[in-house]
């Protein structure tokens, strides 16, 4: 086929970011951490507030990681893990329900209208406001505390995922749907192979936000009740009194785990959405 023996040009190599630029970025990141610690040190040094120094806190933090807390006979990792288990269970449950529901609501007009009113009324209720009702509902269940915590995290993660899925479906380019229709695609094929992948970037955004809110919800849910977990730990450290370094260590653990979750979702997104 002589007429078609043309060779398309390869896309030009992207100019890599220069090394010095990357170096500056690292320096800025380091500087932001240094600023916070220096500010903390300054405030602690003035003895105006009941605040341990950064070094004292770091010692406690490392101690909690290695030897654990003698009061509970648990390391910080074990405490975090017991909260994280609940969050993972609850978030997965909420994604499994919210994503299909969002795809359906985004693509079926009457279903959207049918459920919109109820959802718009439920959405502004803070997840934590569900705690008292949840305790009543699950009072006779086998492990009421755990069920309440799963329920609250579920509510917290549910709406961001649902709304971002609906939004993602509405962003699917109509030209892709028309193209699929002219090829004779079935409704099922359009839903699963056009709308779902088209909405995937937005769905991932919802999952990232949902996990974040779920992680916040577990801390608050454990303040109200629970046996062990990171929220319970910092609240009971306060109740015991004089354990400010333990409280800050617990807060630091919450922050670290939260940002790891967010990075993991972004990493997963890059692996699952290779076309972007």
């Amino acid at each position: 086929m002589g007429l078609f023996n043309y060779t398309p040009a390869k896309a030009a190599d992207q100019t890599p970011r220069t090394r010095s630029r990357k170096g500056t970025d690292y320096l800025l990141k380091l500087l932001s951490v240094v600023t916070v610690i220096a500010g903390w040190q300054a405030v602690a040094g003035l003895h105006l507030l009941e605040l341990p120094t950064p070094t004292a806190t770091l010692k406690v933090f490392i101690g909690l990681l290695i030897k654990g807390d003698p009061l509970y006979n648990m390391t910080l990792q074990e405490i975090v893990w017991s909260s994280l288990q609940i969050v993972i269970k609850a978030c997965l449950l909420s994604f499994v329900i919210a994503v299909p529901l969002g795809v359906l609501m985004g693509s079926v007009g009457w279903l959207r209208k049918y459920s919109d009113t109820v959802l718009e009324m439920l959405r502004p209720i803070p997840p934590l406001a569900w705690i008292p009702l949840a305790y009543v509902l699950f009072a006779n269940a086998g492990r009421p505390t755990e069920y309440v915590q799963i329920f609250v995290v579920f509510i917290g993660a549910f709406f961001p995922v649902l709304l971002d899925t609906i939004h993602g479906i509405s962003l699917v380019n109509s030209i892709h749907i028309e193209a699929a229709e002219t090829m004779g695609a079935s409704r099922r094929q359009i839903l699963l192979q056009i709308m779902l992948p088209g909405a995937l970037p937005s769905i991932f955004n919802g999952i990232r936000v949902g996990f974040g809110i779920g992680w916040m919800c577990i801390v608050a849910a454990e303040f109200v009740g629970g046996k062990m977990g990171i929220g319970y730990y910092i609240w009971s450290s306060y109740s015991v009194g004089g354990r400010t370094a333990e409280i800050i260590s617990g807060m630091a653990a919450i922050g670290i785990v939260g940002s790891i979750i967010s990075r993991l979702v972004v990493f997963l997104e890059k692996r699952l959405i290779p076309w972007r």
């Binding site: 086929m1 007429l3 078609f4 023996n5 043309y6 398309p8 040009a9 896309a11 030209i175 892709h176 028309e178 193209a179 699929a180 229709e181 002219t182 090829m183 004779g184 695609a185 079935s186 094929q189 192979q193 056009i194 992948p197 088209g198 995937l200 959405i273 290779p274 076309w275 972007r276």
Partner: protein, 242 residues
Amino acid sequence: MALILRGVTHRFGETKIFEDLDLQVEEGCFCCIVGPSGCGKSTLLRIIAGLYRPVKGEVLLDNKPPSLDKGEIGFVFQEDALFPWFTVEENIKFGLRARKVDKSSWGQIIEHNLQKVGLADYRDYYPSQLSGGMKQRVAIARVLAYNPKLLLMDEPFASLDSLNRNMLQTELIDLWAREKKTILFVTHNIDEAVFLAERLIVMGSKPGRIKRVLDINLPRPRNRTDTEFCRNRRSILEIIES
């Protein structure tokens, strides 16, 4: 007669898009529709494809109304309509799956149709890795793969630079000469229309209507700088502006 339109009328709300349109396109004809923007060219193609239902009138393809799920029609869009989450190969597979083409023949069909458009080495590329011209080549291969009777092309080369556009026009004419498909090609570029068409339909706007249908009998390969070519181009411009 391959394609017949009788009294086709369409409105968007109160706005008349076109009224009482009659048209006949013979099998194997390369037919171009030119006209100013807003004359309803794209809407007309979508009605023929069955994407929109006309308010009045009928469309017949081989004496039957065309239906979306029979795969009689291949539509090539102006915009990039490749699915970005599928590779080149998967994009073609989507159409084959929709058409329920026997799976054992997929490999050969994909290979064959990518060769037709000169992209056999690009099976595993994502659309985002291809240039505009390559994307439209894949879009053409994607519809050719399920072997439609009628090819509807809605300004498919409008977003390409002029060199690329000329190249694709030549390739399209070669494809048409070999495959003998009926092609309905919408454009607002008169040069493109004169270069491609056997039959030219000139549309006017407000409301959209057919002003003139004429045959272009220039021998192929056509030369854009040829005196006859330029004379044709001038007379069509006059019809459009009249």
